[in-house]
Symmetry: C2
Subunit: 316 residues, 2 copies
DNA sequence: ATTTCGCCACAGTTTTTGTCTATGGCTCCA
DNA sequence: TGGAGCCATAGACAAAAACTGTGGCGAAAT
């Protein structure tokens, strides 16, 4: 049963596990040695679990003790976060979540994020900051943003990155294009005509990766038009400046269509990004929530064709 | 502070949040209504947090209350799991973890898994069951396996799937092959010569996916040799039966080399798989551990080239 | 309009639990 | 052999939590 367990006791256990010395552990939590000792002892008796081996040369954590001590540590930390968040919510002191986003991410994602946030923390504001990925990351560094929803790749060594969406990249063309009657396109037959790209400045690492990808299929990149927004891209396609690669989920202007690309496995990946400072109280909760949500969504749909096209062979 | 909080109180809060009725909540946890009422009330006072709004027409969870109630629920569940696991470990009653694995997964992964398991649960045995993926999954269904380490894809709607590794697929050839001096190969120039595959029977969904992948690059699959183990594959390559796709990390027999493939983004993905029954006490812990580990490893290395080759464009 | 019922809060009392001081036993080391 | 360090235990005291009983309040029923 969960009774006989107190958060106070968790602190005792944590301190004892850290110091491996009941006397010093007791000092650390500001009680008499006998209290800590007897509390732990009584607990061990009631749950019939030996946490510490009392040896001649001191204490030692048992295997069971290690498991419980780990639990204690995690739980105490989570409670601190929970209390801080609950207090902040109640007092309406949750600072607005300064959320950066690129105009190239799917609007649905932002919407869903907002709904979930509102559901978890009613009345707490989100401050939206549009900005290209590079700017968003700089603002994360400068702590003028708390988090951002950005296209990947983002350097995961510098930021906490949690992928939240993935959808295939498709070729965007006029509906009267010569290729419009084809169900799918080979990258080699369209690569030369893909001339409309996002301005490299907006997300240099993504552009670099793009160049790499084209090189991998043996085709140099023909950047003829650099756009700064998705609608500019669509406008350029309509005006016959060329074709473009866009997220399959992008809403299309009339007169435009998209076609999947065979022979490559290119996807638009979107991630929730924040720096490690965890400045904003809500961040740990969002993180846990997204982890769950993203793993759930993977769980509920069949392995996305675009995601694991790969194992096969050799990995039987 | 974490004092003033008891697991008993968490149960009160959970019950009250569920029933929205202190009287029935008190019954549910077997105490007098006044006890539950005053405990919650006192807690609200000491942490200065209103969990429940007492309205004319009954109780209502406040936003802060919802946050705390969620915490209560999670924590109680985790404690149950922790206690069960700690008891089982102490009594040496942890049943051996019946772990299925395909012979095509990297041996390093199994080793790492074993080390971590031993570290967490000293003295607890792992029962290894070699078997092709299909057999492993059947055994999971039949509950004769607790979990398995398998190549993806695995139907994530039927099993809990946690990816634990990813590495590029490469072409395995003799070191005296005509293509041996090339740093990388285009899939189109070698596809026809890749004739050695894993026996489709061993992992039908992976094979299907493989056929699809070849179709996507516009090349029919030439299955001339079906192997049931990685060493058979290497032997076939050595005997000039053709080329094969293998995990980049596979230890190579002498006389064999591997070359990366340009133009495609094929990887060998490996996952930890278990059914939703959670029959084995250790599974929740393994799951949490792997989640952390896998996200840490993603965090600590740069975005793997093979993983997000894709974003670019449109997702600026 | 009045009664009844369900629900929550409060008061007073008893029981349980936790903490403290003091002490004793044990081991290690000088 | 004596002191220091550490843990366990005992007994006194304090704090916390439980229980019983009661009262208030609104909603539904008579």
């Amino acid at each position: 049963m969960s009774d006989s367990l107190t958060f106070r006791l968790l602190r005792y256990i944590k301190a004892a596990a850290e110091t491996l010395n009941f006397t010093r552990a007791a000092e650390q939590v500001f009680v008499a040695q006998s209290s800590l000792s007897s509390q732990i002892g009584k607990f061990e008796d009631t749950v019939e679990l030996l946490l510490f081996a009392r040896l001649q040369n001191g204490l030692k954590l048992t295997s069971a003790g290690r498991i419980v001590a780990t639990f204690a540590e995690n739980t105490l930390k989570e409670w601190d976060q929970t209390l801080a968040m609950a207090l902040a919510v109640q007092r309406n002191e949750v600072p607005p979540l300064r959320l950066g986003f690129s105009s190239f991410i799917n609007a649905k994602l932002l919407e869903r994020f907002r709904e979930n946030y509102e559901g978890m923390f009613p009345g707490c504001a989100i401050q939206l900051w549009s900005g290209d990925p590079l700017l968003c990351l700089q603002r994360l560094d400068a702590r003028t943003l708390d988090c951002a929803i950005l296209p990947l790749p983002v350097d995961a060594t510098l930021y906490n990155v949690q992928q939240i969406a993935q959808s295939p990249l498709v070729v965007c063309m006029r509906s009267d294009d010569v290729l419009a009657d084809r169900a799918q396109l080979d990258i080699h037959e369209v690569a030369e005509r893909i001339t409309i790209f996002r301005d490299p400045e907006l997300h240099p690492s993504a552009h670099t990766r793009l160049v790499e990808m084209f090189r991998e299929v043996g085709i140099p990149i023909h950047l003829a038009c650099a756009a700064r927004t998705p609608s500019e891209i669509q406008w350029m396609v309509k005006e016959r400046y060329g074709l473009a690669l866009i997220d399959q989920l992008t809403p299309l202007d009339p007169g435009l269509i998209t076609r999947p690309i065979a022979g490559v496995n290119w996807t638009a990946d979107t991630a929730f990004v924040h720096s490690s400072h965890m400045d904003h109280v809500a961040i740990p909760f969002i993180e846990r929530f997204l982890q769950q949500t993203w793993s759930d969504s993977r769980r509920s749909k069949r392995p996305p064709k675009a995601r694991h096209p790969e194992q096969l062979e050799l990995l039987g």
